[in-house]
């Protein structure tokens, strides 16, 4: 593998000195880019895009040709594991992901097994290998997975949900059943992320999109405990470097001290929690990733720069900050506004790293 020329992102995750704050953006490869929409249209189906390594590599690299991003994230979907388990993932326009065979009973759970990474999820590993080769050491490549709780939400609900009645109904009415499901998902995610690291992912991230819908007690028992189980089973070094692990629970601002204690290197923060408050809460234990409101990108460029300055000031001086939005970039954002954001982070962050 070629030498990494820009390792700002990896260094910041480990709270090591950097010259400026690194930045990448959730869903940076996505619908807001016309070149993405073109490839997506040619591929026809969203899952074809995910499961064809050359196409996944192409869209992964697209935003890096436009913007000076400090990391690439492999183009994929968080629902690849349940799909490999045979739940029948498909996408309905305007409604998001759906499963033809959702989990409805203890019997459904008993049938689930950890997918074989070398065959059933090989396309993800192949996409990572191809992308690493194409990146050629420019920036690090991030691998990822949904958290067990988040995957269980989609698997039991059969798709997106407004109130999570089915999955929480199962959690409250049959907690042992839910624990069985989460344990098999945690085993699968561990194997999945380790396979991604073996294939070349230089950092991995757990997206806990729906952990924030739980009470503090239920979050600890049904989401955080399984992320901790995964982290304790991960390969933490590869190619002679540490492989940093980031945990992001959307809406988890109240639980940052708990999240910082599960063995991860960095914690994602959404915009509802001020970074100065978050930094105090994690007390130097982990790096922080975030946290501009994605809707700021609808504003004019002067306002975008002002908000970038505000987020940087909120984290303050010193190491351990990776700039990101607090959620994925919206599909209707003007790519020029994304460029404005990336440049502003680099330009305005230099003074914060002269300690």
């Amino acid at each position: 593998m070629s030498e990494l020329r820009n390792d700002r992102y990896l260094r910041a995750l480990l709270r090591e000195p950097v010259d400026k704050t690194p930045v990448w953006v959730m869903r940076q490869a996505g619908r807001y880019l016309p070149e993405y929409r073109e490839v997506r249209a040619k591929a026809g189906d969203f899952m074809t895009l995910c499961s064809t390594p050359d196409l996944a590599c192409e869209v992964t690299l697209q935003p890096l040709r436009r913007f000076e991003l400090d990391a690439a994230i492999i183009f994929s979907d968080i629902l690849t594991i349940p799909d490999a388990m045979g739940l029948g993932l498909h996408f309905v326009a305007g409604e998001g992901p759906k499963f033809t065979k959702p989990i409805q009973s203890a019997a459904d759970i008993a049938k689930l097994g950890v997918p074989d990474m070398a065959s059933e999820l090989r396309y993800v590993m192949d996409a990572i290998s191809v992308t690493r080769r194409e990146l050629n050491g420019d920036v690090p490549l991030i691998g990822f997975s949904g958290s067990p709780w988040t995957l269980a939400c989609y698997m039991v609900e059969g798709g997106a949900s407004k109130d999570f009645g089915k999955v929480k109904g199962m959690m409250f009415d049959a907690p042992e059943q839910m624990h069985k499901l989460l344990d098999i998902m945690a085993q699968s995610v561990t194997a999945y992320l380790n396979a991604q690291i073996a294939a070349g992912a230089q950092s991995v991230m757990l997206f806990d999109t729906w952990g924030g819908t739980l009470s503090t007690r239920d979050y600890q028992q049904f989401s955080l405990a399984y992320m901790q189980q995964i982290i304790s089973g991960l390969t933490r070094e590869s190619e002679g470097r540490k492989v940093p692990v980031t945990v992001f629970t959307k809406g988890g601002g109240q639980w940052l001290p708990l999240i910082a204690a599960v063995g991860c290197d960095a914690v994602g923060v959404d915009w509802t929690t001020d970074l100065s408050v978050a930094r105090e809460a994690v007390n130097g234990k982990v790096a922080l990733q975030g946290n501009m409101d994605p809707c700021v990108l609808y504003a004019n460029k002067a306002r975008i720069e002002q908000e970038v300055a505000s987020v940087l000031a909120s984290f303050g001086e010193g190491e351990g900050h990776v700039f990101n939005l607090g959620h994925g970039i919206h599909p209707t954002i003007d790519p020029d506004h994304m460029g404005c954001l990336i440049d502003a982070v680099h330009n305005l962050s230099v003074p914060y790293h002269q300690g």
Copy 2:
């Protein structure tokens, strides 16, 4: 007006002694009740139900015939004010509320005026008068409104929204315009709640459903400030009693000390924040309302009782707790489970009030 025979709810809001913890449930008059669905079907249209005082009264009282609730809440919709402003409220099955004329520009905002409570929103006041007469002193009647920010979300988005791109786009790109809109909404909500109090509402509540989608700074400037403006303009005494004011920002757990400082008597808390943490955060300044996860009602009755016990224990001994769910009851809940909840609150809370 007849003497109030059960004033537990009003007393708890003012942190006065009660024999057991009072309980009511958001959307207690609603689709989970077959008798509601029957009246709703006869009325044909949801807004007909809201705007016909006798029908609104009937569905308001339905849950009180089944359960020993400690308060009634007038059946209405949070979008009555923008409807009276001429935005053309209607409901699309499965999609929720829509406006035919959403707010898109400064010119649209300039055209808005405070609706006339005695004519354009008279049906709400009539529903309150009729319901007070029918309640005949059994339990107090709650009036309510959406918060200015929450109303603005619907008015600018034109309906429900996933990412609030339009309303936040306006907030970030043209903050002065957004402040104009919020100011006219705050004036309208103040007049609306005062008219409800004059008509017989014995307590009022501000539903800030979408305040939790903002950053701490934006929440203070664009949501909380306008709720404070409203509260400072409210009639606080009527019929010789204090009229307690409750503020509920869903997802506002991190901001409880800020909310407790705006002059309200009580603060609603959703289930993501533990009541013991919330109680410490508000430090005896206000009462707390909440906070069981509505999905607990999908579980078996033994589990529902266990969770009620857990919420009561979380608040602990002493005064200032109104039991509620952390969000409206879901339409597919079995009414018997609601009954189990109400009885459990009364039965299990007695030991907490013997100080």
